[in-house]
């Protein structure tokens, strides 16, 4: 069985005004249907750059990214992005209109159908009471939930999440993580999730790809993450293990 998302030997480079930076080097992995696949690594490991390449915003200078066998060449609504920034909602549209907008312009659904579907997904993220609000009246957590509803309503092949909860306060972050897992239980969507928090990776993911920095390379892949449990201490052990793996070199180098 071929993977839903197949990233093979991808090297990503980008130019700053003075230097050519290699963000990732020959990174390969595959994401299967209904995976909660987490890219985890310290800053500078190119995980966000990698996610943007899957989103089609960057072209690999080496290697291929394929989704359902098609090569990724440009951004498209089959890979919906959820960003970290709170300004990702269109400020001139209400919550409902924000969720409906991609359904209308990218999916070309009839208005009635788009509205029904948008309402159903807004219900799923418990924001029905804010459905006619403008984004500037929402809290950070609510904005991120709208962005998630917007991504999921499109029922994309894969949902790409770039540290969506990183800018939230700790309590809201936990609520949002729980909600995301609950949503996954309902619809079993496929998600590629970027984070630099080991705890978040363990909580969200069923598979984790560990990346090392400068340039980003695959260090290890952790699978069956959902077998560990936070109550018997196995999650804590895994967290420590991953921490040691990621930071071992750094400490010996000092």
């Amino acid at each position: 069985m071929t993977a839903l998302l197949d990233v093979s030997g991808v090297t990503l480079r980008y130019k700053t005004p003075s230097v050519l930076v290699t963000a990732t080097e020959r990174v390969s992995f595959g994401v299967d249907r209904s995976d909660r696949f987490v890219l985890l690594g310290p800053s500078g490991c190119g995980k966000s750059t990698l996610l943007k390449a899957v989103g089609g915003y960057l072209h690999p200078s080496e290697g291929k990214i394929r989704i359902k066998g098609r090569e990724v060449t440009e951004p498209g609504a089959d890979r919906m992005m959820v960003f970290q920034e709170f300004d990702q909602l269109l400020p001139w549209k209400t919550v409902l209109e924000n969720v409906m907008f991609p359904l209308l312009v990218a999916r070309r659904l009839p208005r009635k159908e788009a509205e029904d579907r948008a309402k159903a997904y807004i219900e799923k993220v418990n924001l029905t009471r804010a459905i006619n609000s403008y984004p500037h009246t929402l809290s950070g957590g609510m904005k991120q939930r709208v962005a998630i509803a917007r991504g999921m309503a499109m029922e994309p092949d894969i949902l790409l999440m770039d540290e969506p909860f990183a800018a939230l306060d700790a309590l809201t972050r936990r609520t949002c993580q729980d909600e995301l897992l609950q949503l996954w239980e309902d619809t079993k969507f496929t998600v590629l999730f970027v984070t630099h928090s080991i705890a978040e990776a363990i909580k969200i993911g069923n598979r984790i790809l560990l990346l090392s920095p400068h340039p980003g390379r695959v260090k290890a892949e952790v699978s069956d993450v959902d077998r560990v449990s936070p109550t018997d201490g196995s999650a804590g052990q895994l967290e420590k293990h991953i921490h040691d793996l990621l930071f071992a070199e750094e400490e010996t180098a000092h």
Partner: protein, 287 residues
């Protein structure tokens, strides 16, 4: 194993009577003073009183008519249809020039946002022509287009175009990277990307450009009419002012000036303010 203790405090319950004052209604006077419209009206009334007092003290209607004289002349001229007709003549030309200027500005900025050479073109042209007062082009326009609305529209386009283009372009450049990525994520490209993402996101700057463009255009138009006056038998407000000065009907000159100011205020406070309230304020892009 020892546990942390939680002690519930009863005094936060609803049964507790409020001792401190939480809300107090403001008095009518405080409410009125909190309203910007009321404050500004008070200023205008005060200025009107000073005008009237000085006019009476000077007692020289040829130099400085009183406010009441001006207002009564204005009423007569409005009643006999002169001022409305002249104002309409000005506004008609203004709308032609404004619409053409805004259209050309949007074509230029769309080109500028999509191609690098377009950006260079827009930046060079704005740098060259923005500092050039539109009225300075009038002598040339008169040679090219003759005495008529063509010349007026030409200078109006010049006065509107650069202000609108400059503001729109800088608004487009200021649209956040995240919103751009969101737009491309939806597969929007070309014009639909510009009109569905960039224009609404840059709307605060665009509106500023439209307001500045409007103010420039209105001033330029009145000045241009003063310089070459009547065309095709029907002049505008500028010509009305010039004509009445020649007839030494100074209250009518003041009435003309007052009309120019009033139209300016109405457009700024009714039209643009309403657009602002219905768009960028509602969207939280301006407080």
């Amino acid at each position: 194993m020892s546990n942390a203790q939680i002690v519930m405090r009863a005094d936060t319950g609803p049964t507790q009577a409020h001792t401190g004052e939480v809300e107090r209604k403001l008095s009518t006077l405080e409410l009125a003073w909190g309203n910007g419209f009321v404050r500004k009206t008070a200023i205008i009334i005060l200025l009107g009183l000073i005008w009237e007092a000085y006019g009476r003290y000077l007692d020289n209607p040829l130099l400085f008519p009183t406010l009441l004289d001006t207002l009564s002349t204005m009423r007569d001229r409005i009643a006999d249809g002169t001022i409305p007709l002249r104002a309409w003549a000005s506004i008609k030309v203004l709308l032609m020039g404004y619409a053409s200027g805004v259209t050309i500005a949007s074509v230029l900025t769309v080109l500028a946002i999509n191609t690098r050479i377009g950006t260079d073109f827009l930046e060079t042209m704005t740098a060259m022509f923005n500092p050039l007062p539109a009225i300075a082009l009038l002598p040339l326009a008169l040679i090219w287009f003759g005495l008529g609305n063509g010349s007026l529209v030409f200078v109006l386009i010049h006065s509107v175009l650069w202000a609108v283009a400059l503001n729109t372009h800088s608004g487009f450049l200021g649209v956040s990277q995240t919103l751009r990525m969101v737009g491309r994520n939806y597969g929007l490209k070309g014009l639909s990307y510009v009109f569905r993402i960039l224009v609404p996101a840059a709307f605060p700057s665009i509106l500023t450009g439209l307001k500045i463009g409007w103010a420039f255009a209105w001033r330029t138009l009145i000045a241009a009419e003063l310089v070459f006056g009547v065309s095709s038998g029907q002049g505008g407000l500028g010509w009305f002012i010039f004509e009445n000065r020649n007839l030494l009907d100074i209250p009518a000159v003041f009435a003309g000036l007052l009309t120019v100011i009033t139209i300016g205020l109405v457009v700024e406070n009714l039209i643009f303010r309403t657009i602002e309230r219905k768009t960028i304020r509602k969207w939280g892009l301006q407080s």
